[in-house]
């Protein structure tokens, strides 16, 4: 049986094992197919040998090596500089924060002073509060805003209010006397 038509499939390696065996037995008696296979092998060998004898020029290789070395050095330098810069900025920020805390106005203390009961006691509205358990007051002072209010969770007595917990969002930078009013009163007005 003539199996010459299977030559291409044999060379492509797409024949199943039984067909391969049959084709190889065919090869023993077919010089045309054998020659074609020899040419195919010669072709592969020449392609490989031909291409692997092509090299990049020395100039090109050198320039790539130099470029690579420069890039690596630059990247390493960049990382080092990045870390050092970050450490420097973080240190400066920390120092400024510490200095501001020591040298700047004692906001926490002022705030506590300003929100002590003494200020509230001077306010007639605050004194009229009936509910002894809680007090919602509206700040009318400039900078805080007329609609801001705080909920004071603990009231000592009807006559002598003491704000024991200041609202954390309100930060005062100087001594001021505040006018407190209950929210309901503010709305009524």
């Amino acid at each position: 049986m003539n199996n010459c038509h299977q030559l291409e499939q044999y060379l492509d390696g797409t024949l199943v094992p039984t067909e391969t065996a049959r084709f190889e037995s065919h090869l023993r008696g077919c010089s045309a197919c054998r020659l074609e296979i020899e040419i195919a092998n010669e072709l592969d060998a020449r392609i490989y040998a031909g291409w692997t004898s092509v090299w990049a020029s020395a100039d090109l290789s050198d320039s790539i090596v130099q470029c690579s070395a420069a890039h690596s050095a630059g990247a390493h330098f960049g990382v080092q500089v990045g870390y050092r810069l970050f450490a420097l900025v973080a240190s400066v920020v920390a120092l400024i924060a510490i200095a501001a805390w020591y040298l700047g106005p004692h906001q926490e203390q002022i705030e506590r002073t300003a929100t002590k009961g003494s200020d509230i006691e001077s306010l007639p509205v605050a004194k009229r509060i009936a509910d002894p358990n809680s007090l919602r007051v509206a700040f009318l002072d400039e900078g805080v805003g007329p609609h801001s209010s705080i909920l004071v969770p603990q009231v000592q007595s009807n006559d002598d209010f003491t704000i024991v917990k200041a609202y954390p969002a309100i930060r005062l930078t100087q001594h001021r006397t505040f006018n407190y009013r209950r929210t309901q009163d503010a709305q009524a007005n």
Binding site: E8, L11, D12, T14, E36, I39, A40, E42, L43, D44, R46, I47, Y48, A49, G50, W51, T52, S53, V54, W55, A56, S57, A58, L60, S61, S63, I64, V65, C67, S68, H71, S72
Partner: protein, 175 residues
């Protein structure tokens, strides 16, 4: 063994210069263009080293970069790659230790391959020279494995025909 290409690990790209250059040459058919492509490829590889998934695929990653660069160049310049013509192999400077016959032999087969269409030439180069599997080639050039097989088969058949003719001429000349 850590397979991942860490940013801290310096990949030794330089050892692939010849491979990349050859592939660039197989794509462009032009010595100077291949040199430019190779240089650009390594520059890009250095810049994008962090994108490299594994140190084991450096070669195919570099080839992918070259292929993309070549495609970009074709789009920008709107030039056609040398297809089915007797490509120009000018600009080639052989190594000092490279003999004349070696150069001729090398240029002969490279010229023979230049007569193939782009896709067939690339596929044949990647398979025969770089020894990539069909699957690897399919992934690299973004086509199906069947397409790779078909291109390889056609390319080999076409070159066999030319080589047979060449061998016949050589034997006639020696007689």
């Amino acid at each position: 063994m850590n397979m991942t290409a860490s940013r801290d690990v310096q990949i030794d790209f330089e050892k692939y210069v010849d491979n990349v250059f050859r592939f660039a040459l197989s794509l462009s058919n032009d010595w100077h263009v291949a040199e430019d492509l190779t240089q650009e490829c390594f520059l890009r590889a250095q810049q994008r080293q962090g994108q490299l998934q594994s140190a084991l695929v450096v070669r195919s990653w570099l080839f992918k970069i070259v292929l993309n660069l070549w495609k970009d160049q074709l789009k920008k310049k709107k030039i056609d790659a040398v297809d089915g013509t007797d490509g120009d192999f000018q600009g080639r400077e052989g190594r000092p230790d490279e003999g004349l016959s070696q150069r001729e032999s090398c240029e002969q087969i490279v010229r023979l391959m230049q007569t193939l269409p782009n896709q067939q030439r690339s596929v044949l180069y990647l398979s025969s020279v770089e020894q990539f599997s069909n699957r690897e080639i399919a992934t690299l050039i973004q086509c199906s494995e069947n397409s790779v097989k078909a291109n390889l088969s056609i390319a080999r058949k076409s070159l066999r025909k030319k080589l047979r003719r060449q061998l016949t001429q050589e034997s006639t000349a020696t007689e």
